[in-house]
Point group: C2
Chain length 342, copies 2
């Protein structure tokens, strides 16, 4: 696509880290989607990423329609540099594209003994509470928090009951989805895994009003506002779609999609060692809580992904046949040698 | 109790704003609880609130065991002053007490054209996903975002399906609670509104694993860590209880309970007028989305509380008989003239 080697390596690193952590929907399976956007002229493979506004603790970054995979790490680097100087750094990004897994970017802060924040808006797939229309993406929030002897605590969550990828898996298997994940085009509960393609919508975290779906809607809205209204990207129904079945509105309210990255120096609050030792205590207290009968272990945010990462580093990653096929097609298109592992 | 007039007025303002906004559980109904803490020596009515650590964009505040009702607004004021200088300000607070409604504090930023953040940890009532034990409070998050002609967008939410007050109301009425709000002492789903008093626990937002309760657990954990591990307050099961039926652990890991307040100057990112006009567009777009058949209006965060506020400012606030009785007892105790409105 003409990307610099640096950008290509970085993007590959972000995608592979998703596959390692078990977020397969955001790994190399997405590569053909990025190429599709590039072919449509909606992704710039040679972006000139620039700060367009800043204060000591903030910046707005113009991603020049680059891949979020390379724009977001750059934004995080700026946030980290600002945190070094004034305690915290917050960078809102406009004119970007899909940035892969939220957790990759937040985790960049960990080596600096900082708490990393990462969020992004995304294709509108989610209906706010009481709404028929899809106005929000699955808008993820990730926060990475360093510990001492324990591995870091890493939150990386869509603001919906499940990520869209879970619906796609159910659809591929021809299975129903549980109530509380999605609604049909009239706003009624639906167990049809392909309901999104038929005018339905995903539901916010909380699923229904009685169980707090308005709170999931609040969180998705917050991510949208910080990621897009703040820097001047597209928000709500105007977010440019990644998935082909969401139509693109032709009256944009901003530039591209938006992200919001942050870094907080731990020792801007208390000595880093002290904080990290208490994080160890927090983590072991929660992990050692008495589990309910159905489960043998209380988990701490980041545990499942770390476990899977270890397994996959050892045994490799099993890609779905259609993903391998997709990659082979891409290799042919770009005239790159393609080697299948058996 | 010996509070300064300034502190007494401020605390009254915070409590009344909860009653006005319909968060009755956090209004004057709480007053007897604060007095109980003061009688136990756990609340200092004449606190010397001090900054104990700071950088240009951060501070840690020691609340000197004061009421959160007065400590948190002070913290927010510091956050606002820092934001004026370097774009954002973030203040973590230790050695405090229950701070009333989260939204009061975040909304202090609005007049300055800033986005206000407010969170606090609280008495452990919530079991993490897969856990029998109560390790988290209902740990609320509030974010207040200014708009132009539209009223501000105000998120103010517990990180549980419902606030604890909703269980208390059901209990008073002798009604069952819906599945997904709470579990019994073995971690099984429960519809018993008094389950907390019998060793049960509230559930995180999402209710069960299949509907994303691990995400509600992540959010409650994040609030706990930012509010307490960061400044050096008590966290997890060590948070000093407000409710009498939660036992107090005698090996504290920090000082009092903790809060986390933040202020972000909108024009640290883009011109305030531009931002606020786009917020108007965001708000009207969401409010005018096509509603589902069961509801006639899509709401925007803050709408229900604002509506109720207007009604109550006009017609007054109906207090429950037992709250009036409580207040009368307090008036007698402090030898204050008590006048009942009919």
């Amino acid at each position: 696509m003409g990307s610099s080697l640096e950008h290509a390596n970085l993007a590959a690193d972000v995608l592979l880290s998703a596959d390692l952590r078990g977020v397969d929907s955001h790994g190399v399976a997405r590569l053909s989607g990025y190429v599709r956007l590039w072919k449509q002229g909606r992704l710039n493979a040679q972006p000139d990423i620039k700060i367009v506004h800043e204060t000591p603790s903030t910046a707005v970054l113009d991603g020049d329609l680059g891949a979020g995979l390379v724009v977001a790490p750059k934004a995080m680097q700026i946030a980290i540099e600002k945190a070094k100087l004034v305690g915290t750094g917050w960078v809102a990004v406009k004119n970007s594209n899909h940035y892969g897994i939220a957790g990759y970017h937040s985790m960049l802060a960990l080596d600096e003994d900082m708490i990393g924040w990462s969020m992004t808006n995304a294709s509108p797939l989610v209906a706010p509470t009481f709404s028929k229309s899809k106005l929000l993406g699955t808008n993820p929030i990730s926060v990475a928090i360093p510990a001492d002897k324990e591995p870091p605590l890493v939150i990386d969550m869509a603001t919906t009951p499940v990520a869209n990828g879970k619906l796609e898996v159910k659809q591929r298997k021809g299975e129903d989805i549980p109530n509380g994940w999605a609604q049909d085009n009239e706003g009624n509960p639906s167990s049809d895994a392909s309901v999104l393609k038929n005018g339905g919508a995903m539901l916010p975290l909380g699923s229904d009003r009685e169980h707090g779906s308005h709170k999931g809607y609040c969180l998705g809205g917050l991510v949208d506002i910080l990621s897009a209204v703040l820097p001047g990207a597209n928000y709500g129904p105007w977010v440019p779609p990644f998935v082909p079945y969401v139509p693109m509105l032709d009256n944009p309210v901003g530039d591209g999609i938006g992200h919001f990255l942050g870094a907080m120096r731990v020792d801007a609050f208390r000595p880093a060692d002290e904080f990290k030792q208490h994080m160890d205590n927090w983590i072991t207290t929660f992990r050692n809580a008495e589990p309910t009968a159905a489960f043998n272990q209380v988990l701490v945010p980041g545990d499942p992904e770390r476990k899977l990462s270890k397994e996959r580093l050892k045994h490799g990653i099993n890609l779905l046949p259609q993903v391998i096929e997709d990659l082979e097609k891409l290799a042919n298109y770009f005239q790159i040698k393609f080697k299948k592992m058996e």
